[in-house]
Symmetry: C2
Subunit: 339 residues, 2 copies
DNA sequence: GCTAGGAATGTTTGCGTTCACATTATCGTG
DNA sequence: CACGATAATGTGAACGCAAACATTCCTAGC
């Protein structure tokens, strides 16, 4: 049985109290920055803390106080850009607010039960709130009971959430992209979708369909893909085989790279023969050939918003109004009017 | 003061014990899977656990046992591919081994003190081991005392680590890349470096220099950049202005995208006029135009190795021999013999 | 000088577990 | 059938801290 690695167990409040000639309670007060302590006393305590190298024992503190200040994040284990960018935002806010973040990851394409497991792991760890960075719906049965216990925020637009609310408007993204292509004069817009395992993939597809219908055009069949550039490449070959396809809405920048390569290999140039608009605006989007027209998602802001929202819920304070985070169309060189 | 959100506080071992008609100790034994329990008793306990929805209270358990099974990871808050890919590996092993992962992030270009802060936050949280996913050297003074207390693993090759060892051989990467270009017949190799804040950036540069010298060529001046495609683009313009530059070793794929775009804009084609080799093999590398010749770093494996190493250290077991993780040169279309 | 009242500090208790040890049940053996 | 050995279970204490309440100190006002 491995035990603590610090040979002589770490100094405790008692040690500090003794060294400073006060009670542990006073030490506790100084540490947690309470007011009713004489400056001189506080100085003595702080000095003792410094000298002994005392650190609060988080487990003990949270056992006593009932608070852990732990934020849980459930992520699907993928090195997708969006996920890690969002995490950066979450982490930043958490640290600012004195929370720590623990992650529970779940295999890609994991089942509902894996999510429950992840959620349970976080709860066991004492997470006071959970951010679901995952293709998951609150409407799922087993989820309700968990959400009741632990405040939860979801990254996806979803109606009917149980008093919880999401931060990104996925359907605005699809609308922006599709209407851009339409307004350029394209008759119709094809769509390379992301993996349907992901909620946003479905939302984008549905919105794309709806926008087309609003404009009186019958949506062509979806070309399914799975977020990877490879799958984009395959989809691109399919599109290249469709002579009258002049505009494609690709659900992610990464896939767009694949689509464009397939198109070029088939002798169709972008944007002269085919316009491509995608989603995310990853750092490389501007360095594709041609540079990608894309709908930017402000991922870090999304992460920040999610984190402050969940902290608001935890601390039961009025939710700081999240100024709406707008996706933004960045027009570059991969779209043009039809020939 | 917000308290627990579960209105009626969660069931404890006592509740389970009462429901199952046993002592709390027995409940504890069943939960932690010890052997000395009659199957029938275990079943009763498990039933009670199930019915009450009991979950171990991690804070209480770790206070009593002295163990937290928490792994700390210090990351620089960047959405760089490498970082998130490594994290995936860490997370996977941690979960397998029953550890949870908490992250402390640090601003890009943060000072040494920010790292100490992050380390301290993790220690306070009870991290039993820390993985440093950061441009940091063990040789730093303040670090020694921390490492003594808490087992630490660094992602970077470094001689003189305090009994700790790293997992990737950054210098092998640079050697692979530079020698590939040389063996193609290029007279010399230019280098676009990453941000010198990062250790691997420096190691790659030094190795590149050394390899050139070994081959009897005087290294040209380094072209400094900072990992971003934009900086790669700027570096690319510099290179385009050097008529006899025929080969470039770029320290990351992302920068290579920028370099290539600048080169093309200046009328120099890749690989006919200039060969480009980079590092990482991100998903998009194969979809650059031309497809990138690059040195693959098996990031997830690196993460897995780091995690199992740190767990070995925590549990004071013989370190599972990490089969050496070799970087691998992937030859695609961005390199060719000089014209 | 005495008292009220607030600021500063101390004491006690309990958070939910696990540990170390004590006790009781169960079984095979001579 | 009693005995010891081993398996199964129980008991008390302790982990390090913060909450609640209790006490002491100081100051100001009359």
């Amino acid at each position: 049985m491995p035990r603590r690695h610090n040979q002589k167990s770490a100094p405790s409040q008692v040690d500090v109290a003794r060294a400073a000639g006060v009670s542990t309670q006073t030490v506790s007060r100084v540490i947690s920055g309470q007011s009713n302590v004489r400056p001189e006393t506080a100085r003595r305590v702080l000095a003792a803390v410094e000298e002994l190298g005392y650190r609060v024992h988080a487990a003990a503190a949270s056992l006593a106080s009932g608070r852990t200040r732990i934020l849980g994040v459930i992520v699907v284990s993928t090195a997708r850009y969006s996920t890690s960018a969002i995490t950066v935002g979450i982490e930043a806010v958490a640290t600012e607010e004195g929370y720590s973040v623990t992650t529970a990851s779940v295999a890609d394409h994991a089942t509902r039960d894996s999510f429950f497991d992840a959620f349970d792991r976080l709860e066991r760890q004492g997470a006071e709130g959970v951010i679901l960075l995952a293709p998951f719906s609150f409407l799922d049965p087993g989820m309700d009971t968990r959400i009741e216990r632990t405040p939860t925020v979801l990254m996806h637009r979803l109606t009917g959430g149980v008093g919880t609310e999401s931060v990104v408007d996925q359907s605005a993204i699809a609308r922006l992209a599709t209407e851009h292509l339409l307004s350029l004069g394209h008759r119709t817009v094809w769509h390379v979708s992301g993996d349907d395992y992901w909620l946003e993939s479905r939302v984008r597809r549905e919105t794309w369909e709806q926008v087309l219908i609003e404009h009186g055009v019958t949506p062509p069949p979806v070309i399914p893909a799975d977020w990877t550039p490879e799958s984009g490449y395959r989809a691109g070959r399919t599109i290249a085989a469709i002579p009258d396809a002049t505009a494609v809405f690709v659900a992610s920048d990464e896939m767009a790279f694949g689509v464009i390569r397939a198109l070029h290999e088939a002798g169709r140039t972008v944007p002269d023969d085919v316009s491509v608009v995608s989603v995310d605006d990853i750092a490389l989007a501007a360095y594709a050939a041609p540079a990608l027209t894309t709908v930017r998602q402000p991922f870090e802001a999304v992460g920040r918003a999610a984190a402050s929202r969940i902290i608001d819920m935890i601390e039961e304070r009025e939710p700081t109004p999240v100024e709406p985070i707008h996706p933004e169309l960045i027009v570059r060189a991969s779209t043009a009017p039809p020939a």
